[in-house]
Symmetry: D2
Subunit: 257 residues, 4 copies
């Protein structure tokens, strides 16, 4: 019997304030297998979080926390010199708050994926990665931590004994060193659905992706990120999903194994 | 063998931002048996919360959550027309966040006492009281909810099956209807340590307190609140504690029974 | 020579955080004559404010401030028991901040229209209306204050000597007493462009509008609010504008007379 | 006739939320000649700002703005990668808001001194210094900008044509390169009143101060910062003031010349 290769698709959701636009996230959540929900520090509030938990639970999507630096004005995208012990407290606070909302709905948080500048810092800064890993583990030892494939954070968290999911981006351009090209750069975001899907398949099947300067990067990823906040995001997601399935991949959350 | 009557003393702590004044709360926490820790909505941040959890744990004081309306500018003291379903989400978020920090320290949240305007609204507004009670119960069915003695909130939470602690205030003046006299009113805050202690003893022993207009109010209370944010607060607390002990009362958290 | 009757169309804009979606407000700003820009308390931040000021200036739209209660989580739509002296400080702070950004661009704030729950409270609560009027006047004595047509706020501000613009809503249902029907109510928002335009023309020409229960309300309004945050908002705005012009109305800001 | 040498003493004030502790700043404001008032981004709110403006005006102290990164949780002390164009908008917003409150009281803002991490970044980062200088100048061309004596910011702002006041710290230790020793370091804060006063006199008279490693630093300063947030701050301030006067210095704000 042939083994089914599995891949996870994840999206960052609940990134809005107040509850005046329910349903925004539904289209993207219909396509992915893990949802990382904003916890109020860069966006989101308890009511939006609870609505998003309910939506994810109803759609059978695994629930992850999406903690951030406390930076609503900058949407968590700005580097901040937060000390590791404060990162620890901030991240543990955010995961715990979301988990409490999830448990009240009979669900639970199964993974943690830091957001924006915190996510990027973890890729390079071992102290920061260790602080986030410790917060994740101290919340619950069976939580998964999602980090950039090929980054220092992967090694740090793995060596601390956490379950770690390596993430790659099929709709973002990579620099030669494995970092994401800054959003402000031209061609940093890949928009064409067919191209994104082709990149996703190559990542899943061959563990390879082209960099922005034309070299090939090897990346072992167990989850692919799909951005939900752009026009046409659901179309891109559907195209990626179909392409992966056509290639024989099963879709499922890393955290449900 | 004579039964020992027990009473709890509680204080609201961690009501500050950033961690530049560690130790502020230590003096008051040495005198009380339950600490209600601010959860970031009216004051406090994750680092202050974690420091306060550690301090309470070290001093053997029971840990409670002190959730609020989201109102940092007004210190949570302003009435806000937050819908019950949003109160539910806000309170559950706050308790869960603090509990996560406490569990990482090997402790846990054992009680919930809403802050300021939310606490006052619960005393009158059954829908609000029910929303807070539901959030408390959905976080954990063995949590205690602290409400004003003699208020609607006591009946609402009791009828929902929660463990409820009735609270009285020996350093605040009461109106004839059992409400607290507004802080802005003259004589609303009782400052003289001996007078506060005498009121505490009478409350604990006889279940009675004088109102601001000279009548007697009957109040069955299992916890007395001591404010820690005034000059001389620790002295007041020590005087109250000694007076209760001299009267034969044991001191211990309602939540540790 | 025939006199040209003039009416102002206004929209509330800049109601978002971070600057990732520039251009959102351009469609609606092309149709109106006064823009009320959020000042950070319910939404908006300095960068969004500055971008919106530039956009309004470029399109020749008069710039107004849109101050609110400090309530980002609730989008300023929740009643808050903020004391009049704090309302005064909050509103003066917000107008002044926006005016500083406008002046740096060679423009200036010419009107003030409070947002959401603060706007509604002014309609009933004279102390609140006076606090906002005082803040407006203390910022600059030639600022216009925009209030609900037919409300107490109109009388209060007028008697204090301010220049007051009365506002009516052609896309929101009115109750018999002149209040807006709550958004949560069925039919509270009128969406059909032709119907909105017909209501606008009747308001401008006859000073009349039908209430939600079928009676006729008399309202003298010098500005009509068009909501920009709904799908099809620009289409509605264009239809209203054309209908008013077809009826012989000139369009121009009350503040530019 | 002998020329009177003049020096300014400045303090950072209004660094608290809600208005429950009026009077906190009065002791230090009685000793200084310029007050830099927090503008809400690291601390302070409109009501505290207004109270502090009134207090400064009553005591005859010049009013300055104390803008910061948007970082209440970290008290503005954490480096943040805020883009220069956003720094510009944030700073202009804050100065303008405070100036509006001051003008309503018949006063006005005469200087701008950035806070914490933003102040430190200006000392090294010319783009950042230029953004702050531009915001200051665009608010009003006669505003003074206060920067660290001997820093890049001094040169940047001077070359842009601003009136610049160089600031030195008599109660903080200096590194050999002219930077302040980080607060976390041992001996970073000088507490002994006599020692602080001796350093102040030497700075004012000779333009010299000892660094933490025992060398001598030359600094031309026109204002000395006195911290008001430590126990005994007013005593230190009074001692410094007396020592300077005994040495023949006049005390007065650089901005009142």
């Amino acid at each position: 019997m042939a083994e089914v290769r599995c891949i996870d698709l994840n999206a960052d959701v609940g990134e809005r304030f107040d509850n005046w636009r329910p349903g925004d996230d539904e289209a993207i959540l219909r396509e992915v297998t893990t949802a990382h929900i904003a916890c109020g520090f860069h966006s989101g509030d308890p009511t939006v979080m609870l609505e998003t938990v309910r939506l994810a639970a109803r759609l059978g999507v695994a629930i992850g926390a999406h903690p951030s630096y406390p930076d609503r004005d900058g949407f968590g995208r700005r580097a901040m010199d937060v000390a590791p012990e404060r990162i620890y407290a901030d991240v543990l606070f955010q995961i715990s708050a979301l988990d409490g909302l999830a448990r009240a709905e009979g669900a639970r948080v199964t993974s943690v994926k830091p957001h924006g500048a915190l996510y990027n810092r973890m890729a390079e800064d071992e102290e920061c990665a260790a602080a986030v890993a410790r917060a994740t583990r101290d919340c619950s030892s069976d939580l998964w931590l999602v980090v950039r494939a090929g980054s220092r954070a992967f090694d740090v968290a793995t060596s601390m004994g956490l379950r770690v999911a390596a993430e790659a981006f099929c709709d973002r351009a990579y620099a030669r060193d494995g970092a994401l090209a800054p959003r402000a750069e031209r061609d940093a975001v890949v928009g064409d659905p067919a191209l994104v899907a082709a990149r996703a398949v190559r990542l899943a099947r061959d563990g390879e992706i082209d960099t922005i300067d034309g070299t090939t990067l090897r990346l072992a990823a167990s989850t692919l990120c799909l951005h939900g906040d752009t026009p046409g995001a659901a179309t891109v997601a559907r195209t990626v999903r179909s392409a992966l399935q056509a290639e024989g991949f099963g879709l499922g959350s890393f955290s449900s194994v």
